[in-house]
Subunit: 189 residues, 2 copies
């Protein structure tokens, strides 16, 4: 159950047996069927989630009912609405399983406890946050520097495991293009 | 010289005199005139920069010569091309002073040394990265959820110190709208 997350941590810090046991005890495990929700927009974002298995999608629904995919998460990734998690506010996005998934859930309170009790975990979490920041910054710059076509083919190459489980419409909204434009790109090929 | 950065750090961790001295010794100070460059797109991104005074702007120039403002930074903020800094690669953006500025520059090597020598700084840096990630994630969601008009007036309210130093074109590109659309918004008022 905790193999994936421990391997993830061990890339950056080592833990003794006691620390490992304490860490594992802080998580709750949640199983999700396809289309089941981990978080609903408007509910307090209480947890950060580590994906043990499966694929999830975070999306924003605007008042006109238009859905935009903000993020995908696959095995070994973390997913939450970080602003609302950090401030324990109503979530701005919904998080839904797009394939059967198993996630480890950590509450804000337990994360704070973990970082206080095992300060070396700060390093691991710092690298996590740094990578998340880099991913978002890269996305902004790539949206500016690459054509929609290039970004689409890069997405297919980078996330082959996601593609079979999501709609073209979801991919289009993640890439910031219309579904019609994505159809045109695919028709060209 | 190090008052601002030390106050910034002391929000999250405390240092003894020796640690404070060691930390201060790791930075180089750079003074920039208005329009002077801290980093040029294509040059290796060697440093992360803390803004002691002034205002800076990071922008991306596409092959057709179109400039997009990716980020602003004011007093007490950090600025770099994080992906290229972390991997010591040619920068994807240029960083330019838009007002006379003083920045503290920290190389990747020295940052790594700092985090090894004073591990509790991991906490500070984790919170930095977390805030940077939140800022980018919020920007994505606000771009989806708010009208360009709302985002413009929020920008004016949030960053009154930036507005006098930058062009409407730079603000428009930061908000992801055309300068013509921004003119239309301003004309409506």
């Amino acid at each position: 159950m905790y193999q994936a997350i421990l391997s993830h941590i061990y890339k950056y810090v080592s833990l003794n047996e006691e620390e490992e046991a304490f860490l594992s005890s802080q998580f709750n495990v949640t199983q999700l069927k396809r289309k089941e929700y981990l978080l609903q927009q408007g509910n307090i974002c209480q947890h950060i989630h580590f994906v043990n298995e499966g694929i999830l999608r975070a999306y924003f629904l605007n008042p006109e009912g238009k859905e935009t995919t903000v993020m995908f998460a696959v095995k070994d990734w973390w997913i939450t609405d970080m602003y609302c998690f950090a401030n324990q506010l109503p979530a701005m996005v919904s998080i839904q399983a797009v394939a059967p998934s198993q996630v480890l859930c950590l509450s804000k309170e337990r994360l704070d406890t973990l970082l206080t009790e095992i300060p070396k975990l700060e390093r691991w979490f710092r690298i996590l946050m740094q990578n998340a920041y880099i991913r978002e910054q890269l996305r902004v710059i790539q949206n500016l520097s690459q054509s929609a076509e290039d970004r689409y083919y890069e997405f297919l190459e980078k996330y082959p495991q996601i593609v079979p489980h999501v709609t073209q419409k979801q991919i289009a909204s993640y890439l910031g293009i219309t579904p019609e434009f994505l159809s045109a790109i695919r028709a060209q090929k």
